[in-house]
Amino acid sequence: MLENEANPNFSKSTGLPRKRFYRARAHSNPLSDSHFPVPLSPSDFDLFLHYPHFFESSGQLSISSRKIEFADIGCGFGGLLISLSTLFPETLMIGMELRDKVTEYVKERILALRVSNPGQYQNVSVVRTNSMKYIPNYFGKEQLSKMFFLFPDPHFKEKNHRRRVISPYLLDEYAYVLRVGGIIYTITDVEELGEWMKTCLEGHPMFEAITEEELEKDPVVKLLSSATEEGQKVARNGGQTFQAVYRRIAPSL
């Protein structure tokens, strides 16, 4: 990582990438056919590349039963993942982000943290992809135990509602990759979107609401509004947040 010290995009003091050199627009068109590599199927996803500490080589993947369990959809600058990484050091987790520059930033951030904190942050990684189209390419049936949708793009106009990352149709796919008992976490500062996401989840037969009691006990819930850059911005501006946390259940016959 010697190159980071000389790299002007990185801070000399912390060795971490500086956000201002990874500027990107807040929005990215999820409908466009971007050209980034997508694994043909979950077994083709190179876990060794992302988590070298946990796998000896690409050849070991079929022997190891370790799989990614947490997915942060639209991970932005990686705030949540970084916090989760130390909270769950033995769990593999991944961030999915559509914007190229932002994905680069998260990648550099993770690599720098791995260097400055030996042994830590080996369980977290990021991939540039369109999760609305390709989630089944990355995760197998009932693989994940947690999925995060923090401050997704609201797509205010009615005609753009179909671009929203939480929708009745896409929830079928999220239910497919989440195991029974797995949890989906959503939060937004846009009230209408919060209502929308809650209605979609409430109306889906494979999700049920989690009680207030259980939410209190879950250490992850507090991170939803505090761990990400977006969440911190909302808190700074004194805004309100709306969360919907649901559990994946087996469909009733």
Binding site: L31, P136, Y169, L171, E173, A175, H204, P251
Partner: protein, 286 residues
């Protein structure tokens, strides 16, 4: 038990919609061991919808759609039959999918005029016309003929309930209900598994989705059984094949990636891949 041979053969000119990557169309036509590959047309200027062919399950009729016209030939009588629809009218734009029901009493046709028309094969009258919001790209009928599913160009699959259908009934206005969707992808083909458990939908983004078809589909088909992933180009066609000594039918798919693949739909495993050497446009069993 009769072998559930798929009763329709579909001929595509090429990818349903690929304006960005125009593919070279195959000019060969081959027949080998039950796989039929269709000829493409070289002329792309006049974008005519490909002619479609469907054969009645008991070989009573052959149905051919040419553009907006639906032509029926009575094989037993040896003459052509005119279809009638005095109230809603005939198709006004290219027909994109035609299919006979398993019991042969119905034919379903749908296409670019956003109409799904259900014809009775006794009198060849259109008993029901269902209005779709978008152009229709594929249709499928359950084996018991209780439900008709169709896919629109936005990737949404709709279901029409025909359980109270009766040939003698006056024209009934049926409404379709959306049950699932492939995100922003055109669904090229729909197929029910022979045991009726699953609805298979394939799209132009090389995905094949196996969904559990519920007893009450009007509330949606939310439970995905598996994805069959492996094709690298648009999936153009699906067919089920029954193997002796194997109680479950296997899925065969053809794709623009020049392969025909064999799948077990219950766990999504790819059983075999056959390199065909040219874009596969249609599969059927003889």
């Amino acid at each position: 038990m009769t072998d559930p041979t798929p009763s329709s053969v579909r001929a595509f000119k090429g990818p349903i919609s690929e304006p960005k990557n125009p593919k070279k169309l195959p000019c060969l036509s081959q027949m080998s061991d039950g796989i039929l590959m269709e000829e493409g047309e070289g002329n792309r200027e006049t974008e005519v919808a490909p002619a479609l062919l469907a054969v009645h399950p008991f070989d009573k009729f052959v149905a051919v759609s040419v553009g907006a016209e639906l032509r029926i030939f009575d094989l037993q009588g040896g003459y052509s039959v005119l279809v009638k629809d005095d109230s809603a009218g005939l198709h006004k734009d290219s027909i994109r999918a035609i299919r006979f029901s398993a019991h042969g009493k119905l034919l379903v046709s749908a296409g670019d005029d956003k109409l799904v028309k259900i014809w009775t094969t006794d009198s060849w009258c259109c008993t029901t016309t269902v209005y779709s919001e978008k152009r229709v790209s594929a249709v499928a009928i359950t084996n018991d003929s209780h439900f008709v599913c169709f896919a629109d160009k936005f990737g949404v699959v709709w279901v029409v309930d025909l359980t109270d259908y009766s040939e003698n009934q006056a024209l009934v206005n049926k409404k379709a209900v959306p049950i699932l969707a492939h995100y922003c992808s055109i669904i090229t083909t729909l197929e029910f598994s022979p045991d009726g458990r699953f609805l298979i939908s394939a799209d132009r983004d090389s995905k094949i989705r196996v969904t559990v078809f519920p007893k009450k589909p009007l509330v949606g088909a939310h439970e995905i059984q598996r994805f069959c992933l492996g094709h690298t180009e648009f999936v153009s066609c699906l067919a089920f094949v029954s193997i002796p000594d194997c109680h479950e039918a296997l899925l065969v798919s053809g794709s623009g990636d020049s392969t025909v693949r064999l799948w077990d739909v219950t766990d999504g495993t790819l059983l075999d891949t056959c390199e065909v050497g040219t874009e596969v446009l249609a599969v059927d069993l003889i």
